[in-house]
């Protein structure tokens, strides 16, 4: 893309060869128009004299502006504008001088006839018009491109969201989890009926919330934490002393709406990759806090930690994609080592209803 965008936008990455040729072409066309205009208002000499002067002043301005943009590619719009103005002054003076000398009229005669100020005014005025014309063309092209880019971005994020949903649906109820839980219940019916019943209740709660959230209905933080509690209760029966957990949700945040399938995968992940593979087990701490209009949800475990040699994706790509499609750049997802061991995953999202 061409980079000649004075004065609205700073130039980025220097002037390209393509835009330089374009600029040169427009300058030639405009100079001709200016010559016609000056002849029409009976300024200067005849058409050819005016044409000659227009071209020499115009091309000189054009060269100076291009040189200014190329050799001083700055970022501040005001500075850029000043550079272009200076380039136009130098360009019109230089062009007038060259034109006068080359045409044989002589610089002294030219300055005598029109005066320095008049020549400068003409040069800077027409130069500004051309520069402005060119930069607004760029501007229009840029905004059209931006519109297109935004459209592509929107479609891509919609597609990603749909894909993430599908993946979540597929991974919804992990077969290992399902069959191991059922095995446990089956045994508990023989050995400890009450425990078996409560495990079934937790499992039902987990399943019901899972099914509701797959339909994409909005859930509240309270519901989300209830489901996580049910899930961890089931694991508590299975892992016994190897699992300790606590959930901390302040009362005033219980009814806050929160999208499903964001916090739950982090907890499942902490179990699956952190605590279940660890011989001595460990602890999971889920916390929800609100601060300065932002919600911070954290899942910390004291499990195996990230094994870099393992190169695992950890199945968190879904969470990141979903976060991106729901909140764009307004959300943050931080994964860090929990001290002394394990992983801490933190979600930070804007808290709308504060």
């Amino acid at each position: 893309m061409a980079a000649y965008k004075y004065p609205m936008k700073p130039v980025k990455g220097g002037l390209t060869a393509g835009s330089a040729v374009k600029l040169l072409f427009y300058t030639l066309v405009f100079d001709t128009i200016i010559a016609l205009f000056l002849t029409a208002i009976k300024f200067g000499g005849g058409f050819w004299i005016n044409f000659f002067f227009s071209q020499s002043i115009g091309l000189s301005c054009c060269t100076c502006v291009m040189a200014a943009l190329h050799f001083f590619p700055g970022d501040k719009p005001l500075l850029q504008a000043m550079r272009v103005a200076l380039a136009l002054v130098i360009g019109s003076l230089g062009g007038s001088f060259l034109g006068a000398t080359a045409s044989g009229i002589g610089a002294a005669a030219l300055f005598d006839k029109h005066g320095l100020l008049q020549l400068l005014t003409l040069g800077v005025m027409f130069g500004s018009i051309i520069t402005y014309f060119f930069s607004s063309r760029e501007q229009i092209a840029a905004s059209r491109e931006q519109l297109q880019e935004e459209k592509i971005k929107r479609l891509t994020s919609e597609k990603k969201a749909a894909e993430a949903n599908l993946k979540q649906l597929q991974a919804q109820i992990e077969p290992h989890f399902l069959f191991n839980t059922l095995s446990n219940v089956l045994n508990l019916l023989d050995t400890d009926v009450d425990k078996g019943k409560s495990m079934l209740v937790d499992f039902t709660r987990y399943l019901r919330t899972s099914l509701v959230r797959t339909r994409g209905r909005r859930t509240t933080l309270g519901q989300e934490l209830d489901m996580i509690r049910a899930y961890l209760n089931i694991y508590k029966v299975r892992m016994e002393d190897r699992l300790k957990f606590s959930l901390e949700l302040p009362d005033h945040l219980k009814d806050v709406a929160f999208p499903p399938m964001l916090l739950q995968p982090l907890v499942e992940n902490a179990i699956k990759h952190g605590l279940e593979p660890k011989v001595e087990g460990g602890e999971i701490l889920v916390t929800v806090e609100e601060e300065n209009g932002r919600l911070r949800l954290a899942v910390a475990d004291t499990g195996m930690g990230i094994r870099v040699d393992y190169h695992s994706g950890l199945g968190l790509a879904n969470v990141r994609e979903r976060l991106e499609s729901l909140y764009g750049s307004r959300a943050r997802f931080i994964l860090e080592e929990n001290l002394p061991c394990g992983v801490k995953a933190t979600l930070e999202v804007p808290h709308a209803s504060s």
Binding site: M1, A20, F179, S183, R238, M239, A317
Partner: protein
């Protein structure tokens, strides 16, 4: 006659109790010689107690049931237990390795018991060579199901904390003195790993080296253009800055 002895390894207590009670119903003479709740314990106890049969849960902390079976020097018959492992079950079927699915049903367990009795009555066979090759393959599969082996996470230190940055989030890497700067949407991190090392470890389809000191995430590239002086410049999405492509890497952007 000596009673046959069995060993049970499963990290979940309820499931050990369940299998024990089922076995005592279906095979009263069988003695449970021991139990373990993780792989290391299972391996040590089986080696010392030398049971005739070992029921091994595949998914256990420490060592998986497959790894325990592979390391066993003893001639004991192994029955694997799993809740759900499509690929393992397929392999077991092909190699005639016995396995049980959770929840274990009476009919299925009865079949296994009948088969085990028959095997124990016959002279011990040695098909362990074949078995270990299958196990090797399954273990590799279990450890990293679909892992191409590229770097996925960058460990970046920030003060006392170590943050984990997903490489997908990285826009580009650039060498800075003896560190490498990792640029993400959120900001910059410094890591010790060199650009050259990174180039070896990152997925080459996703990360392109464009300069001796720069690696860019291809999905963050908005476009490439030629500068006035003839060099190639990469414009990034959502970022004002451009990255320079050195001459030796310009071929990456030749038109298709």
């Amino acid at each position: 006659m000596r009673h046959p002895e069995a060993f049970i390894a499963d990290d979940e207590k309820q499931l050990r109790i369940y299998l024990k009670s089922k076995l005592s119903d279906l095979w009263p003479e069988l003695v449970i010689a021991g139990e373990a709740e993780n792989g290391h314990e299972a391996l040590a106890l089986i080696e010392s107690r030398r049971p005739d049969v070992a029921f091994l849960d595949i998914k256990m902390p420490g060592l998986s049931g497959l790894e325990v079976a592979k390391r066993l020097t003893d001639d004991c018959i192994v029955v694997f237990i799993t809740a759900y492992d499509e690929f393992a079950i397929e392999a077991f079927e092909n190699e005639a390795i016995d396995y049980l699915l959770k929840p274990v049903t009476d009919e299925r367990l009865a079949k296994t018991v009948a088969r085990l009795k028959k095997q124990l009555a016959a002279t011990p066979s040695s098909s362990s060579g074949q078995l270990s090759a299958t196990l090797e393959r399954l273990i590799a599969n279990l450890n990293n199901p679909d892992d191409p082996g590229y770097l996925k996470w960058i460990k970046a230190r920030r003060g006392q904390q170590v943050q984990l940055v997903a490489v997908d989030d990285v826009h580009y890497f650039r060498a800075e003195d003896k560190y490498t700067m990792v640029k993400t949407g959120d900001g910059e991190h410094l890591i010790k790993m060199s650009v050259r090392q990174l180039a070896d470890e990152l997925d080459p389809d996703q990360f392109w080296r464009i300069h001796r000191s720069t690696i860019v995430n291809v999905s963050c590239v908005a476009g490439v253009h030629r500068s006035f002086s003839g060099g190639l410049l990469i414009k990034l999405k959502d970022f004002p800055e451009s990255l320079t492509v050195s001459r030796s890497y310009a071929y990456l952007f030749k038109q298709m």
